[in-house]
Amino acid sequence: MLKQTEGSHAVAEAVALCRPEVICAYPISPQTHIVEGLGEMVKGGEVENCEFINVESEFAAMSVAIGSSATGARTYTATASQGILFMAEAVYNASGLGLPIVMTVANRAIGAPINIWNDHTDALSQRDSGWIQLFAETNQEALDLHIQAFKLAEEVSLPVMVCMDGFILTHAYERVDVPTQEQVDAFLPPYEPRQVLDPKEPVSIGAMVGPEAFSEVRYLAHAKQMQALELIPKLAEEFKTVFGRESGGLTRSYLTDDAETIVVAMGSVLGTIKDTVDEMRAAGEKIGVLGITSYRPFPIDSVRAALQNAQRVVVLEKSLAVGIGGILSTDVRMAMSGLQLRGHTVVAGLGGRAITRKSLRALFAKAARGELEHLTFLDLDWNVVNKQLERERTTRRSGPAAESMLRDVGVIAARIG
């Protein structure tokens, strides 16, 4: 059924259709609307046989999820930003124990300085946690990925994060096609756990494992993600049969076949990039786009196949690995290993900085001319940065950098604090 609705609510509806049994959450922007929606649906009886638990922290949220999932309940939670860091220990634990929890990450920057706006640093901080991480491009895809996520998680016994850009998607009202319960039921069977806490067949879950078996346990986690790599495209196919639309998969190529320049990115920015590419194509530029849906497992082969005929690759990412540059780029470059390609890392949209078509057009053109540097910070205000660097060089007690720079750009800290 087509609906004009908020991204968060679309996701809430999708989760509700998946017949969750336990939902636990702690409020953090921009994830709040999702769990508020679910809370209301559970309380109002729209979602039956489901416990909604208001926990005291994200750490507790993931911990409750661990308990309920281990007891065989289909379990959902959502978080963002600082929240995912606060639950980090439990995030690793959930995957270590092989519990198929589904969690929405409404992607948001990580402080300090505190910032509620979108980038991907939060989710990517957990890239090695053992979770499957899927990135949605649109609200429709966010909705669809949640349905696929439960099936994927439960088939491989691993938790799945569905990442959607905070505010840009979560708070955007768009038209979405909300499937029927029958469709979802046809796609997603009831949860059949691989291991479960059950007095009828007692087991001890969470043993202490020493050097004699730890490597094997870790390898098996990797092996499961490799299985997921096979499974994700199949599920996308299956999804298409049931729901009649393309959604999910490992990567999505756009005009890459003859592209000399391929832009690689994740999430909602792909829309802006595609619009820019369309404009540049119209101007005769051989440029294409590779969207990455499955960040973990990282589809090395699929990425490599998409890139192998290009001349240059521009990885545009909403994340920064401080001290080296890109996070996504590192993975893309691993996929490019051995290919004679020029690679560029563009760090863009941090903390909600708008990524405009104008800036992108200039950026891609520069890349096409072979003038783009190895690492670029899109639309960086060099004036502010240089002033601060100068201040720090000259004054020992230079004060907090963020406040100083805000003063320089003319925004008073107190106003947004």
Binding site: G96, L97, G98, S157, R194, Q195, V196, E201, P202, V203, S204, I205, G206, A207, V209, A213, F214, E216, V217, L220
Partner: protein, 540 residues
């Protein structure tokens, strides 16, 4: 379930890990000898029979008791229960009233008509027993149970010996005495009353006895050389007590002076009191030095019996006695002071000890007599093979319980001797000392006081002075037992083991250690209330 590797494990699989290898010392179950048992002259397994009584199974308790001593109703009245003096509970509050529970069991048996267990097979051997007192009847019982033919020759007209002729009725009612004697007779013991053995060898030969046990009581009162006028009425204590059993009770007069400080002196004085006299005990030392048991002295005083301490009798006349006052010297011995006084007395009863008539032993080769008693080996046998002796006849403390113990010991040795073997007593366990116990676990429970007859009736009748316990008080008293050194299945070891290394075998079967898992922490030892577990160094 296809469980995740290593992270998820099958339940209880740690049984594969034998933590017993950590151990440097191991707990072992032991039975320690309870101090009551150790003390009991009759060799009773007191803790053992109390165990049954604790659960209210009185018949089992009685059967367990009578394996060692067939006379619990008598014991429960006349035994001086030195066991209670040894009882570890005395260090917590008061000793367990062993004697009162024993009496309860004895009385219960008489009330319910429980019979002693008859022998299952006959040995074909015939044993002569001389004397139907406690020692003789005890030996008769044990020998009979071992399958031997037993014939008892008793000089007197009734069974019981010194129990009848030396202990007043108010302490031991005669129906009780008779019933417990008869119960032994019913096992098939042949008794010949009024049949004094004049010469043991002749009697043995005549009766073709294979062995003999001599258990003649000390029926002859000792006489002191007190200058006395012709008219002075002087009688010995034992004769007096004996005459109480007959039709004609002695005429003592109103003012009866009893000379002596032993239990017999007390018995005589209390008997005289009941006959309407005003007895006065004259004793040369102080109350603290008096050999009579304190409770008997106390009871006598309660009944209004007067005692003249630190006094000796120098002269007896028709109606008066001359007394010399004594004083204790620095060593505590009484010394004459030269100070005299005269007291009125219608009769003087001498309670200065008793001797045994050893006439029957004359001419027995090998037999040794010294200090008026027969010498026996540790096997109770005299110097003459096949003749054993016990009770008052042999060197030992003279009381009913000791006599009964001799009877039991002698029976075992006679039984072995008849098979040309030697009886080797099982090695005694180490004593269960107070330090071995963890007394925290026992409930606070003061001793039950036995009812006493009211004082007026005690002064004027021969009714039994001390009452018995009823079922609830007997049960309570039995349950005050700490079961020193012997497992009473409290489950503490089973419960407190952090390694589940104690196996509970079920009621009456106690426990076992599972040394595969026991780490040797010693908690079971520390928390065993009764000290029935000890640690032993592990041999490596």
């Amino acid at each position: 379930m296809d469980k995740p590797f290593a992270i998820t494990l099958d339940p209880g699989s740690s049984l594969a890990n034998h933590t017993g290898s950590w151990r440097t010392s191991r707990p072992v179950y032991v039975d320690r000898l309870p101090p009551c048992n150790k003390q009991c002259p009759a060799g009773e397994d007191i803790q053992g029979w109390l165990f049954h009584a604790e659960s209210g199974n009185y018949e089992s308790a009685w059967r367990h008791l009578t394996k060692d001593n067939p006379f619990p109703a008598i014991m429960g009245r006349v035994c001086y229960h030195s066991c209670e003096g040894a009882c570890n509970r005395g260090q917590i509050d008061e000793p367990v009233g062993i004697n009162s529970v024993e009496r309860f069991l004895g009385d219960e048996a008489l009330k319910r008509g429980w019979k002693l267990t008859a022998p299952t097979a006959e040995s074909g051997k015939h044993v002569l027993i001389v004397g139907a007192g406690p020692s003789g009847m005890s030996a008769a019982y044990h020998l009979r149970r071992l399958g031997h033919r037993v014939t008892v020759h008793e000089a007197g007209p009734l069974l019981g010996g010194m129990m009848r002729f030396g202990i007043p009725k108010y302490r031991l009612p005669r129906d009780v005495l008779e019933a417990e004697m008869q119960r032994v007779v019913e096992l098939g013991v042949h008794v010949q009353l009024n049949s004094k053995v004049e010469n043991i060898l002749d009697t043995m030969q005549d009766g073709k006895f294979d062995a003999a046990f001599l258990a003649v009581g000390a029926h002859i009162g000792k006489r002191a050389t007190i200058p006395a006028g012709d008219a002075a009425k002087i009688i010995d204590a034992i004769s007096l007590l004996r005459s109480m059993e007959g039709e004609d009770q002695p005429m003592l007069g109103r003012r009866v002076v009893v000379y002596g400080g032993g239990n017999t002196a007390i018995d005589v004085a209390r008997t005289a009191k009941r006959m309407g006299a005003e007895p006065l005990i004259v004793y040369r030392r102080t109350r603290e030095k008096m050999p009579a048991h304190d409770f008997e002295v106390e009871e006598a005083l309660q009944e209004g019996i007067m005692v003249k301490w630190l006094s000796t009798i120098k002269q007896a006349d028709e109606s008066s006695l001359t007394i010399e006052k004594m004083a204790l010297d620095s060593k505590g011995f009484p010394q004459p002071t030269g100070e005299f006084e005269t007291i009125e007395a219608d009769s003087l009863v001498l309670a200065l000890g008793q001797d045994v008539d050893l006439g029957l032993l004359e001419g027995v080769p090998g037999l040794q007599v010294s200090d008026g008693v027969v010498q026996v080996g540790s096997n109770m046998m005299t110097g003459h093979p096949g003749i054993f002796a016990g009770g008052d006849m042999v060197p030992a403390e003279r009381n009913v319980t000791v006599g009964i113990g001799h009877g039991k010991a002698a029976a075992k040795h006679i039984d072995a001797w008849l098979r040309s073997e030697e009886y080797v007593a099982p090695v005694k366990h180490d004593t269960a000392a107070f330090e071995n116990l963890n007394t925290w676990y026992y409930t606070d429970a003061p001793k039950t006081v036995r009812p006493m007859l009211d004082i007026i009736r005690r002064q004027s009748t021969f009714d039994e002075v001390q009452g018995g316990l009823d079922e609830s008080t007997a049960l309570f008293e039995a349950r005050r037992c700490l079961s020193c050194g012997n497992c009473f299945e409290c489950d503490n070891c089973y419960g407190v083991c952090p390694d589940n290394a104690v196996i509970k075998l079920g009621p009456g079967k106690r426990f076992q250690f599972n040394y595969d898992y026991c780490k040797g922490c010693g908690m079971c030892v520390a928390e065993c209330p009764c000290g029935a577990i000890k640690m032993e160094a592990e041999e490596i």
